[in-house]
């Protein structure tokens, strides 16, 4: 084996500097290389979510996006209007709730022009696997109860608290958060309807 470099101050400084320098350069290149695919993947996911929650459209909702301030200071809701041949067929709203079991959950809620919920899709959540994650359509049909309901005559509160929404068994907190997010989107939708 080649003789080991001695642990003098100069050698240690040099070794750590070289290692960090090479590492930083490599990461810089990888970051540049993956930046675009990552942005595309995120955008694709968002577009897929919008497509799921509103009726068929012909415009680019991402380009027509506008932001509305939410009831929580500093946070905004994103509105994605969907037009079919210049007629507004629905609006997808990216909404959130902090009532979840762990961190903030994000939903994409699609409203028809009259405020009826068309469909909802979960963008991000970290609820307990097997319990709260049933809010995701991939895991259970629970969230389908919202489809086709108009919150004007459908109380967006879980039934335990006196509303019309059936909670997920053993996951009332996650259900509350989900309902809260939908409610936030609906209120913003009604307020900003022109």
């Amino acid at each position: 084996m080649a003789s080991k470099t001695e642990s003098t101050f100069r050698n240690m400084l040099l070794a750590l500097f070289v290692v960090s320098f090479i590492s930083a350069t490599t990461l810089g290149y990888v970051y540049e290389f993956t930046k675009e695919p990552i942005a595309i993947a995120k955008l694709k996911k968002k577009i897929a979510a919008i497509k799921k929650v509103v009726p068929e459209f012909t415009n680019d909702p991402n380009a027509d996006m506008y932001k509305i301030a939410s009831d929580i200071k500093g946070d905004t809701l994103e509105f994605y209007p969907a037009y079919k041949d210049s007629e507004l067929v629905g609006t997808a709203i990216k909404t959130f709730s902090d009532l979840g079991f762990t961190k903030r959950i994000y939903l994409m809620v699609g409203f028809l022009a009259d405020g009826t919920i068309h469909n909802i899709s979960v963008l991000e959540h970290a609820e307990t696997p097997g319990l709260g994650d049933k809010m995701d359509k991939k895991k259970s049909k629970w969230s389908e109860q919202f489809n086709g309901k108009n919150p004007a005559n459908y109380k967006l509160i879980v039934s335990k608290d006196g509303g019309d929404v059936d909670a997920i068994t053993a996951a009332t907190i996650s259900s509350r958060a989900y309902t809260d997010a939908v409610d936030r989107a609906y209120k913003a939708f009604i307020e900003n309807k022109k």
């Binding site: 084996m1 080649a2 003789s3 080991k4 470099t5 001695e6 642990s7 003098t8 050698n11 240690m12 070794a15 750590l16 290692v19 960090s20 590492s23 490599t26 990461l27 990888v30 970051y31 993956t34 695919p37 990552i38 993947a41 995120k42 694709k44 996911k45 970290a126 307990t128 696997p129 097997g130 319990l131």
Partner: protein, 193 residues
């Protein structure tokens, strides 16, 4: 030690999870299903092999007193490469494992192999060691994830074979400890025989 032993010892005899009890945090955290376990295992294998190669190449250039920080920077670099690549090209998988990928940096299997093996052996042996250890880790995680998925959600690799829910406790954290305990008992029995 023959080349073959270096490769195979990590899979059964010195399995990182069942025998050495290293890297248990990602083991317990990510193995809610077989596919998650497999993906986490393969990501770890990649980092393990790459960091073993680099560490064994630079071992004589790094002064002893700063070897640990130097190794950690090397490992962290590869982990970040894996994270960015996965985010870019396998976004669905990243959604599930994203939280755990940065934890590979502090997975003691990797630093342990860099310190105990790669810093004393040549490049080729280090590759074999990393590959064997990594595959053993992936094997352990896949088995653990598979059993938890079968019992907890009535499915394997995402293919459901029963209606409704399984025993939820196996998907939650306590189930990970229970299944791991039984698997360690079995592996002890095999290794002693």
């Amino acid at each position: 030690m023959s080349k073959l032993t270096i490769l195979t010892k990590g899979i059964i005899k010195e399995n990182a999870v069942f025998v050495l009890f290293l890297g248990l945090c990602p083991t317990l955290g990510t193995t809610t299903s077989a596919i998650n376990g497999l993906a986490m295992g393969l990501a770890t294998t990649f980092v393990l092999v790459m960091s073993n190669i680099v560490v064994s190449m630079v071992k004589s250039l790094i002064p002893d007193k700063v070897r640990i920080p130097a190794f950690i920077v090397i490992i962290a670099t590869f982990v970040t490469v894996v994270e960015l690549t996965m985010q870019a090209f396998l976004p669905d998988l990243f959604e599930v494992l994203g939280l755990f990928i940065p934890l590979i940096v502090v997975n003691c299997v990797i630093l342990g192999r860099a310190e105990a093996f790669a810093s004393k052996n040549n490049v080729f042996d280090s590759v074999l060691d990393g590959l064997g250890m990594g595959l053993g880790f992936a094997f352990a995680l896949t088995v653990l994830g598979g059993i938890r998925e079968i019992l907890g959600s009535g499915a394997l690799f995402g293919f459901s074979f029963m209606e409704g829910d399984g025993m939820l406790i196996f998907v939650l954290a306590p189930g990970a400890f229970i299944v791991l305990g039984y698997l360690i008992a079995i592996s002890n029995k095999i290794n002693k025989a």
